[in-house]
C-alpha cells in the first residue's frame, strides 16, 4: 500500500534562514507527488506538484522540491523563510491520480523573528 512519511512533526526556524521539510514515500514505478500548505483555520492550498519531467519543481511563495527516485524522497525547500510561512505543510503521494491521494501526517513550520 502506498504511504507517505514526514519524519518531522515540527520544524522551528528563524526568519530569513533556509528550511527543508522532509518527505519520503513508499517505492513504486511511477508516482505523482504534491506539497500542500495549510495556514491556520484555512483549507489546504497547493504549493507544488511533480507529475513527470524535471526533478526540480518550483512552486508558489518561493518554495521548491526535488524528486529523488533512488531515495524515494520529495523534500521541500525554501532558501529564506518569512514569518508568514508559519503553517502546516503536507506531502501527498498518488500512483493513480487524485482519487487515491494519500497525505503525510504534516510538518508544522514555526518561523520566529
Amino acid at each position: 500500500a502506498q504511504s507517505v512519511t514526514q519524519l518531522d512533526s515540527q520544524v522551528p526556524v528563524f526568519e530569513e534562514a533556509p528550511v527543508e521539510l522532509r518527505c519520503n514515500y513508499s517505492s513504486s514505478v511511477s508516482v505523482y507527488l504534491f506539497w500542500y500548505v495549510q495556514y491556520p483555520n484555512q483549507g489546504l492550498q497547493l504549493l507544488l506538484k511533480y507529475l513527470s519531467g524535471s526533478t526540480l519543481v518550483k512552486g508558489i511563495n518561493g518554495f521548491e522540491a526535488e524528486f529523488n527516485k533512488s531515495q524515494t524522497s520529495f523534500h521541500l525547500r525554501k532558501p529564506s523563510v518569512h514569518i508568514s510561512d508559519t503553517a502546516e505543510y503536507f506531502c501527498a503521494v498518488s500512483y493513480t491520480g487524485f482519487q487515491k491521494l494519500v497525505f503525510g501526517t504534516g510538518t508544522r513550520l514555526l518561523v520566529s523573528p
Binding site: 500542500y36 483555520n41 484555512q42 483549507g43 489546504l44 503536507f90 491520480g97 487524485f98 482519487q99
Partner: protein, 118 residues
C-alpha cells in the same frame, strides 16, 4: 469567487443529533471528495464521487452518508453524532483525469467545516 465552498464553517451540536454539511464547486471538476482532519491534523479521505457516482468509500461508519445531487455538489449527512466525530471536515474537488491537470487545476480544497460534538 470561491472555487470550493462549504457551509457551515462552524457547527456545534449535541451527541445524538443529525447534521449536514454542504459543498459546492464552480471549477467544472468531475470528482469531489470529503476528507476528515482530526485534532492531530491527520488528514484522511472519507468519500470520493465522480459525476455523482460513489468511487471511494473508505472505512467510515455508515452513520456518514454522502449525497451528490449533481457533479457540482457533494453533501455530507451525519446521523447520531458521537464525540469522536469532532473534527474539521474538508470538501475538495479535482479533475478525474490527471492528464487534464494544468496550473491550478488540481485537487482544490474548501476552507473546512469545524464540527464540535458536545
Amino acid at each position: 469567487d470561491t472555487a470550493v465552498s462549504q457551509t457551515p464553517k462552524y457547527l456545534v451540536t449535541q451527541m445524538g443529533n443529525d447534521k449536514s454539511i454542504k459543498c459546492e464547486q464552480n471549477l467544472g471538476h468531475d470528482t469531489m471528495y470529503w476528507y476528515k482532519q482530526d485534532s492531530k491534523k491527520f488528514l484522511k479521505i472519507m468519500f470520493s464521487y465522480n459525476n455523482k457516482e460513489l468511487i471511494i468509500n473508505e472505512t467510515v461508519p455508515n452513520r456518514f452518508s454522502p449525497k451528490s445531487p449533481d457533479k457540482a455538489h457533494l453533501n455530507l449527512h451525519i446521523n447520531s453524532l458521537e464525540l469522536g466525530d469532532s473534527a474539521v471536515y474538508f470538501c475538495a474537488s479535482s479533475p478525474w483525469d490527471l492528464t487534464k491537470i494544468s496550473g491550478a487545476n488540481v485537487l482544490t480544497f474548501g476552507a473546512g467545516s469545524r464540527l464540535t460534538v458536545l
